[in-house]
Each structure stands twice: as C-alpha cells, then as structure tokens.
C-alpha cells in the first residue's frame, strides 16, 4: 500500500524536509523497484483481466523506462504517476478532464492522464514533463515558457507545456488563432494566456528548426 501524506495546513520550516521531499521519500519506499527497459523483456505482461478484489500486475513504459507494479484496477494513470512513481509533474486539477493540468503524451499524442486507466495505458509509451528535457538541457518549450514568463503560480504549467508540445507536433500551432483554439483544453487561473501563446510561437520555430536538421 502507498501511504498517503495527509494534507497539512502548516508550513514546513525551511530547515526540515519540505513537503515534496517528504512525499518523494515516502514514494520511494513504497514504489516497486524501477527496472530499465530490456531487463525483463522476456516476461511480457498479459493479465488483461482483473478480479474484483485483487490488484492487477501491469507494465508501463514511462519516459523510456519500463515500470512493473501491482495496482488497484481503478487507479488512473495520473494517480499512478504521482502517488506510485513520484512523478509529480502532472498535476491533479479537476480530476474530471476539464482543466488539462494532468496532460501527458501517449505515443506522442496529448491525452488527459486523469481520465486514463493505468491498466489501459499498457503497451503505450507515456511521456511526462519529467521526460522531455534532454541530458539536462531543457526542451525548447520549457525554455520558451521561462523566457516568456508564461506562468505565475505554475500549477498548470507542466500540463500547458505537454499540451503545447503536442500542439506544435500536430501542426496546430501555425498562427495565434490556432494556438488559442488548440490550447483551449488547458486552463490557467492566473491568465498567463498571452505569454503562453508567445512561448508556443518561439518554441515552434526552435522545434521546426531542430526537426529539419
């Protein structure tokens, strides 16, 4: 069982562990060991059918690493990422597919991880915000969001960036109108929208240049 961190209204002192590292520490003791892809390729998981009360064994490829773990069949991909693997970049905003904060890429296409069952995400490649930087170098979209100050509180930002990467790769970022339309599934309560559009335009150019080289 994963231990849940009770929601705390108190502010952790600077000297002590902050909430994130406390969470990560808890997760690392609870999560099934991560195995590099290939190490267990000979035992491909099947188990397509669960029973009503038992967890189901699944294998997921996330950011090019294979993870094997046993989950309650009700687990969303979002909860699995955040609570089982410590990948807390994808955010839980509404948990009902209305805000876009949980956006990840599934086989390169942007989807909502809150409305995806983890068990149904098997056999697909999942990419999260943690997987887009390359050897410590930020993805052009991450860099553009920083340079254009395309956020305030930052809560929606990982979802915005994943959605924006998908948007550019789909060819739906050719002009401002398209960017606004095709990014409409990502809400930003701080209303950083004009700067987000600017960031997407900058990254689009960099990504296009990179893809033609």
């Amino acid at each position: 069982m994963v231990k849940r961190i009770p929601h705390s209204g108190t502010i952790t002192p600077r000297s002590g562990p902050d909430r994130r590292s406390l969470l990560m520490g808890t997760v690392s003791t609870a999560a099934v060991p991560v195995i590099a892809r290939g190490a267990q390729a000979q035992t491909s998981p099947t188990a397509p059918t669960s029973t009503i009360n038992r967890p189901v064994d699944i294998a997921l490829t996330i950011n090019d690493r294979e993870h094997r773990l046993s989950v309650d069949v009700r687990t969303s991909l979002l909860d699995l990422l955040r609570e089982r693997l410590g990948l807390t970049g994808a955010k839980k905003g509404c948990d009902h597919g209305q805000c876009g904060a949980c956006t990840v890429l599934l086989d390169g296409r942007r989807v909502l991880s809150c409305l995806t069952l983890a068990v149904a995400a098997q056999r697909h490649n999942v990419t999260t915000i943690e997987g887009v930087a390359n050897d410590g170098e930020l993805h052009p979209m991450q860099q553009a969001f920083i340079e254009h100050d395309a956020f305030q509180c930052g809560y929606c930002t990982p979802g915005q960036i994943m959605s924006a990467i998908g948007c550019v790769n789909e060819g739906h970022a050719e002009n401002d109108t398209d960017i606004r339309e095709y990014m409409s599934g990502n809400l930003c309560r701080c209303a950083a929208y004009p700067n987000i559009v600017d960031a997407v335009k900058q990254a689009r150019s960099v990504m296009k240049t990179a893809s033609t080289q």
């Binding site: 397509p48 059918t49 669960s50 029973t51 009503i52 009360n53 189901v56 069949v73 009700r74 969303s76 948990d95 009902h96 597919g97 876009g100 956006t103 599934l106 296409r109 942007r110 989807v111 909502l112 809150c114 409305l115 995806t116 069952l117 068990v119 149904a120 959605s163 998908g166 948007c167 789909e170 739906h172 606004r180 339309e181 095709y182 409409s184 599934g185 990502n186």
Partner: protein, 336 residues
C-alpha cells in the same frame, strides 16, 4: 469509484461475450473506449459498472478505420475524434462532420474519445451528474426531475417530456443525423444496421433508456451516404465561451443548391434537444426556394414550432432560431 472487473477484448466476438448477461438476465458491464465519459461518471458514482470491457484493441479489427469513396464515408467506431476532424478528405467532402468534431471538447479529449463513445456520451445535466440530488429520472427511474423547477438554463427546449429535459450534449451526432447516417451494430446474435436517427430515444416516460442499443451491443461503424449536399455543409456552434464548451445552440446544415435555389436541405440542431435532432419541417419548407432572410426565418420558425421553455432556458428558442438562420445563410453563401 466502485470496484469493477477489468477485461480486455481483442476481437468483437470476445467483447460481446464478456458483457453477456448472467443467468438472471442482468448485465451491468460497460465498454471502455476513450473513457472520457465513462471514467468521469464512474468517479462521480453516476455510473457503477461491475465489469469494464476495454475494446480499444478492436481498432485493429477495422473499428479504427476511415474509408472514403464514391459511395460515401465509413467511420469506424474507434476512430478518435481528432483523427476524423483532421482528415483532409472529410474536411473537403463532409465539412459538417469535420467541423462538428473540431468544435467539440479540447484536443486532449479529441485525441482520446472515440466516435462510438462520442455519440453515446451522457447528458451534462447537473442534476444527473450530482448524485446528491435524489431526483433524476435518468439516473434512477421514477425518482423525479430536479431540473424541471431547478436551474435549467442549459436544458432542452425540444423533445422533452414531463419526466426529463436533459440536453443531449454532442455535436458530431447532429452532423450524422442531418446527413442520414446509418449505424452498424454488432452483438452475439450477429450484425444489424439501423438509421442513426433511430439510435437515441426521446425521454418520454423512460428517460433512463437513452438508446435502442440492446445489452452488450457494440457500435462498429457509422456510414454516411454520399449525397449532393455534403460538400455545401457546415456546423455553427454558439456557446458561452468561444472554445472548449458545450453548445447552447448549434446547427448542422447541408444544402444542395442550384442557381441560388435549394433543391434539398438537411438540418440537425444541437444543444437544444433531448436527443440528436433533425428539423425535417424546416428542410421541407426550404425546398425549391432561395435562402433569403424571409425563407430562412420561416424555416427556423417551423423548426421550433414545438419548442417549450422551462424558465431559465426560454432564451434558447430565439437563440436556436437565429443560429439556424445564420447557418443556412452561411451555407448558402459557401463558394463551392
């Protein structure tokens, strides 16, 4: 969310067997395609299936295919909304279909949601979605309707009954009903094909029975026949915000026009009715006439002759008429 058994079907025959009713004729199984409606409503405890059958592998059995030829358009039920919306042939030959899909939901949802699931999406009625309201004839037969005297700004003005005025929320379905699509359905006892117009049921006195699908049946595909009006077609959607919102009123319009005279019109109306809605009376009125202000207004008046408001949603009758008038005028003016 209630516990359930997850099963994954690789073939259609496997899927329909997995949802077989038990010896007492009960089956509370649901098919999982994109999951954008199902998981949302399971989290809200509005839907509580005991078996969830993942049918996504059926995409390999033709359910994920788009076929476009001189006879028409065939859309597999597991084609994703975004695929069909971005398909160049659909955009040019059946623009109303591409537009109805592109104006629905967000790109993330369109990447996930299947066409079969899209037409079966459940109403956005807040009383249906919130189980803390005891009254909802759609959720629980005979429990009453909280929307009738409640906040019903988004509710239907066409096709309602004393028992339910929940709006059918979809856009794509309006294009399908306008273009006289057919639905291919698969079950354990074989295949059958029905007109799309017969898929959904008006609420009448059984709002909990939303479609004419029998337990365990799966939609395999939609067939849209080629017709002279498909190219001169469009989808006009009016909503509270410009993107990522359900329709307050929408019109799917297709016209066959010669020398400025309508030879045939096909009209679907969205956001206004309890089911996908075809405005046959308006279509008939337009035949043999030009789409001018008077004729468009007369058609719109005919389309809403039976409309009934319930307080907050009264405005939708006038809004619906104006939406249809504008859609007709835009379609008539298309340069094809």
């Amino acid at each position: 969310m209630q516990r359930f058994v997850y099963q994954r079907a690789r073939q259609p025959i496997e899927a329909v067997q997995m949802t077989a009713a038990d010896s007492r004729g009960r089956s509370n199984a649901q098919y999982l395609a994109g999951g954008t409606t199902l998981l949302d409503l399971m989290k809200l405890d509005v839907m509580q299936p005991d078996v969830v059958v993942d049918i996504n592998p059926l995409a390999e059995s033709g359910y994920g295919r788009i076929e476009l030829n001189q006879h028409g358009l065939r859309l597999g039920a597991l084609v994703r909304m975004a695929e069909a919306a971005d398909h160049s042939g659909i955009k040019s030959e059946y623009p109303v279909i591409a537009q109805s899909l592109a104006q629905a939901a967000s790109q993330q949802l369109r990447n996930m949601a299947s066409l079969g699931g899209n037409v079966l999406q459940r109403t956005r009625c807040t009383y249906f979605r919130d189980v803390s309201y005891g009254e909802c004839n759609k959720r629980e037969a005979g429990s009453g309707c909280a929307a009738m005297t409640g906040f019903n700004r988004m509710h239907a003005v066409l096709g309602g009954s004393d028992h339910c005025i929940a709006t059918y929320p979809g856009d794509f379905a309006q294009a399908l009903i306008a273009l006289e699509a057919a639905v291919e359905i698969v079950s354990r006892s074989g295949n059958r094909t029905i007109p799309f117009a017969n898929l959904h049921r008006k609420p009448a006195d059984t709002p909990d029975q939303e479609t004419n699908l029998r337990p365990g049946e799966i939609i395999a595909s939609f067939m849209i026949p080629a017709a002279p009006w498909t190219r001169r077609s469009l989808y006009l959607k009016v909503r509270d915000r410009q993107s990522y919102e359900f329709a307050l009123a929408s019109a799917a319009v297709a016209l066959e026009q010669q020398n400025g005279i309508v030879r045939a019109a096909r009209i679907g109306l969205g956001g206004l009715a309890t089911v996908p809605w075809r405005a046959v009376e308006a279509e008939t009125l337009l035949r043999g006439k030009p789409v001018n202000d008077d004729n468009a207004a007369a058609a719109a008046k005919a389309a809403f002759a039976s409309a009934q408001g319930h307080g907050h949603n009264e405005f939708k009758i006038e809004l619906g008429k104006r939406t249809l008038v504008r859609a007709l005028q835009q379609a008539a003016a298309l340069n094809i």
